[in-house]
Symmetry: C2
Subunit: 233 residues, 2 copies
Amino acid sequence: MAEKQRHSWVAIRDSIREMILNSTYGPGDKLPRDEEFAARFGCARSTVHRAMRDLAQSGIVERRRKGGTTVRRDPVTRATLNIPITRLEVEQKGSVYRYQLIRQSMQPSPPAIMANFGLHEARPMLRVEALHLADSRPYIFEDRWICVETVPEIASVDLSRESANEWLVRNRPYSKCDLRLYARTGTSTDSEILQSEVGDALFVMERTTWISDAPITSLCAVARPGYQLFTQG
Amino acid sequence: MAEKQRHSWVAIRDSIREMILNSTYGPGDKLPRDEEFAARFGCARSTVHRAMRDLAQSGIVERRRKGGTTVRRDPVTRATLNIPITRLEVEQKGSVYRYQLIRQSMQPSPPAIMANFGLHEARPMLRVEALHLADSRPYIFEDRWICVETVPEIASVDLSRESANEWLVRNRPYSKCDLRLYARTGTSTDSEILQSEVGDALFVMERTTWISDAPITSLCAVARPGYQLFTQG
DNA sequence: AAGTGGTCTAGACCACCTC
DNA sequence: AGGTGGTCTAGACCACTTG
């Protein structure tokens, strides 16, 4: 009952992971070089590399040139979140999506937004407050700041028709994304906008993106009560 | 001002992404075969493959054998969450970690847990309720169910000394992990355990893991008010 | 300065899936 | 049944980083 491919990178990854869990190699230990493993397994070095890359991405090992591969002392659980465009998220649930621009204006970035971006000086930004609705009921409220120096085209987009969320995802790739998730108690302002009760537990997602160190957008999205965020491939 | 490596997979990835954003290839369009791209770029097919794998993982394209590579119609934002062992999370903040086992008992899996695992029949499970503390203040309360058929060794672990969280992460790899995040209003039970106020907004993380279709554990972790979950590489 | 991981190549074969 | 992506190899060179 052998595997179809004897030297598949998956098999090799599992072997190495098994050794780590066996304590053949413990936390902080240095693993043999890729070439050494390749010789042991009787496969090409690139196959070991492929396996190692997977283990590194899972957070089980750390790799450094010259430094070699070491077993992480602090294993982490890594989960990938899929954050779809809000319109598609709503439509996928079979609801009717509607979008409502509440306010937009040019403002210099306030301290909180500068902190999100890691900026030391204020930059001119477009602030957009908007509401996403599902079946005419408030779904997510977003308060977004867009750096017009990085995204000058945003000025010519009609944000009352197309959401900034959608325009940016479709037109601006990002190279870095910071995400912050937490729960907040609803205020009276929240309850007005989201038609929720004061004191409801609200789910908040803050997302900040850059394209190679240039700030793109930073937003704070507040979801209606009952909202859940899932993982999924 | 040319790049050091003219045919680096990063450069090729960026070129292809650029074409997609240019609408050279629009949503739903089929991209040329890898071999075709390789010929155009004057590189090896495996280099195109490396670039494509990255684009696929970012959620920009979809690849299928024989079906070829297509531009996704519904772009998604993908973010990787790092969920450390709770003890390390606390210690990294410079706080003193403490752990307190509240209750543990063998119980057949209730419907909610069966649903998390996708089981049709109840299985014997070890239920563990425990509290993680930071500087003697409640930090996270976890209500965990462990499938003893998959993890029989758990029976011989002293869970009053080592948290199930830590033991499992260190000893049990998983092949699949479902995550669900949401906000919940604190009940009187919550307020007792977490020393919070009734009505506080609490951040809840539900996590279910399998090892190749065999259920490992399903837990519901409730964090103290003010808790935040971040991304980070 | 040298050792280790990262990348690239050219070619081969395989596995999956649509046509 | 055939086309496409996925993997594997053997070898070469490069880039990072630590001793």
